[in-house]
């Protein structure tokens, strides 16, 4: 029996803000539950306001959970009581915009090494002075001499490779990919997707892939969850979501995607 790597159950998050003295509430995540098995690519799709970014923030301990629970490797890492110790380094994230996710004042080496300084426990002794930096920069398709340069000397695709190397330096079990190719050109997107796939098999990674790009999700994900206004409206295998969608919102989403081949088939 394959134990789930990440279990999210009954997750809720509400943001409240005041506008002209009136209190507004935004129920960003409504009772969302899903589980990710080790080694799989789990996709979360949705449009703006669907709550997918909030879920990523909750998973990364950047926001606190209102109710519900997140367990990772059998250990509760977030619930409403807080005060859980978060397994920094075991869950890593790659963000959308590689222009802003790397500190312009740091060298590539400093950027990739940064997560190592804040590890705790066994990981600290194991990885503390990691020599993996060189191996990783090569694994993501860059060269050792790139390590002493700064982000502005690289293209968008190359910066995203650096961000991926930084995420992998702590040997994470789960990598959250938050729209990792949305800011890239088509041909560069293809390179990064290929890289993500080869890294997954090389390092035995599990991915949570968050995206609005249905084409990429269809190509990359084993199972897909569809979010609409904070609710998980459908959760199924890749096959079922794209060939036999059941929820009306999923159907609408899929029919809205301007695919060049849908057009051609109809001709």
């Amino acid at each position: 029996m394959n134990q789930d790597l990440l279990v999210v159950s009954g997750l809720n998050k509400t943001f409240s803000f005041k506008n002209k003295g009136v209190k507004h509430e935004n129920h960003a995540v409504k009772d969302v539950s899903f589980a990710i098995k080790p080694g799989e690519v789990f996709g979360l799709v949705g449009e703006s306001g669907s709550g997918k970014s909030t879920i990523a923030n909750l998973l990364m301990n950047l926001e606190s959970v209102d109710s519900g629970e997140i367990t990772f490797n059998g250990v509760t890492i977030a619930d409403s009581k807080a005060q859980n110790s978060f397994p920094y380094g075991d869950i890593q994230v790659v963000f959308q915009d590689p222009r802003s996710s790397l500190d312009p004042r740091m060298t590539i080496r400093q950027i990739i090494e940064e997560p190592l300084r804040f590890l705790s426990g066994a990981k600290k002794t194991e990885l503390g002075n990691s020599s993996d930096v060189v191996r990783l920069i090569q694994a993501v398709g860059l060269r050792e001499e790139h390590l002493d340069r700064r982000p502005h000397q690289f293209s968008g695709g190359q910066r995203q490779r650096v961000a991926i190397a930084r995420a992998l330096i702590t040997r994470p079990k789960l990598v959250v990919l938050d729209e990792p190719t949305s800011a890239l050109d088509i041909s560069v997107q293809a390179q990064v997707i290929n890289l993500l796939k080869s890294l997954q098999s090389e390092f035995g990674l599990t991915y949570l892939f968050i995206s609005h790009n249905m084409g990429v999700v269809k190509y990359l994900c084993d199972r897909v969850g569809v979010l609409n206004q904070g609710e998980l409206v459908e959760l199924a295998s890749n096959e079922d979501i794209f060939n036999r969608p059941t929820h009306p919102y999923t159907k609408k989403l899929l029919s809205s995607v301007p695919s060049m081949f849908k057009e051609m088939e109809s001709q």
Partner: protein
């Protein structure tokens, strides 16, 4: 064949960047007839937005040098015309829709007021007639409650609604040409579908020529009848959407289509393009794509010109040219 609204011939231009001229566009050809929607597709740095700005002479004059070519708009040569006569065209004969609707809207003015000013500027309507036209313009872009939207400020609207308002403004003077530069890139897919439908419908009803600039082949495929593919400021392929995207002839177009994950089988790896985007400060001799091209041969050291493969499908590639001529 109907009359051409826009006819760009052999357009080459360069920008002066820190003292050195950078060749941005080289021998660009583009024709759009009335009522036709033509897609301009390319990756960043391909010169698609520069082309759009050149059409309305909006490029910074201090750094731009036009080295060859002409841009005819309804028979008038834009490049040799005076600034005043081109300024007359902007907004009235040539409408614009950009990626970020907020940049086109005044945040301190209600939607109705902004539309009213635009309509008054480009027509001789009386105040009452213009006011009535505001309502009609909003209705035309399928805004359900124009009487409410009229009195709202841009920040009160969603991204899709803002883009509808921008389209209403662009179309209010009934322009001959609408330039839409990545009009749906900042929008959600469901909204994108609605906006693209709207642009298609308006073009049909008003007989407007539309230049739709996008990096998304899917958007182009669903909206346009013709497409021109730009690579590093050069047209590599042009023709009917069904021809260019289904049976691409240029190796770059082929690679672009194959690099889309949409059709690739899961498990197979996506096709990628080897090498790097060329440095435009020293544009390589010969075919611009040759350094990255898997099919290059001796002939590619010479610059290819756009060669007709059939009536409407042209490609700038020696490999194709030699095949069709032999």
């Amino acid at each position: 064949m109907s009359e051409l609204v826009l006819d760009i011939k052999d357009l080459s231009l360069s920008f002066l960047t820190s003292g050195t001229p950078v060749s941005i566009l080289k021998s660009v050809e583009l024709q759009i007839a009335a009522g036709e929607i033509v897609g301009l597709v390319g990756e960043s740095g391909s010169g698609k937005s520069v082309t759009a700005l050149a059409i309305s002479k909006l490029l910074p004059t201090q750094i731009t040098t036009f080295s060859s070519g002409s841009i005819y708009f309804n028979g008038m040569d834009i490049l040799t015309s005076s600034e005043e006569s081109v300024a007359q065209l902007r907004g009235k004969k040539i409408g614009f829709v950009f990626q970020e609707p907020m940049t086109a809207l005044n945040p301190t003015m209600t939607i109705g007021k902004q539309l009213f000013h635009v309509i008054r500027r480009h027509s001789d309507l009386s105040k009452e007639q213009a006011q009535a036209k505001v309502r009609a313009a909003l209705e035309e872009v399928l805004i359900a409650k124009p009487e409410i939207v009229e009195n709202q400020y841009p920040f009160q609207l969603s991204g899709g609604m803002r883009q509808r308002v921008v389209i209403a403004m662009a179309m209010s003077a009934n322009p001959a040409l609408l330039i839409a530069d990545e009009p749906t890139t900042a929008l959600d897919v469901t909204v994108q579908a609605e906006i693209l439908n709207l642009i298609g419908k308006l073009a049909k009803v008003h007989g407007t020529a539309v230049l739709l600039i996008s990096h998304d082949l899917g958007v182009i495929a669903n909206t346009c009848s013709k497409v021109t593919v730009l690579y590093a400021g050069e047209v590599v392929e042009t023709g009917k959407v069904s021809d260019v995207l289904r049976t691409p002839l240029h190796p770059y177009t082929q690679a672009l289509v194959k690099s889309l994950p949409d059709i690739a089988a899961r498990g197979s790896s996506l096709e990628t393009i080897a090498g790097e985007f060329p440095d435009l400060r020293k544009r390589p001799e010969g075919c611009i794509y040759a350094p990255r091209c898997p099919k290059k041969f001796d002939k590619c050291s010479e610059s290819p010109v756009l060669m007709k493969v059939d009536n409407e499908h042209s490609v700038a590639c020696w490999a194709q040219g030699s095949r069709s001529s032999s």
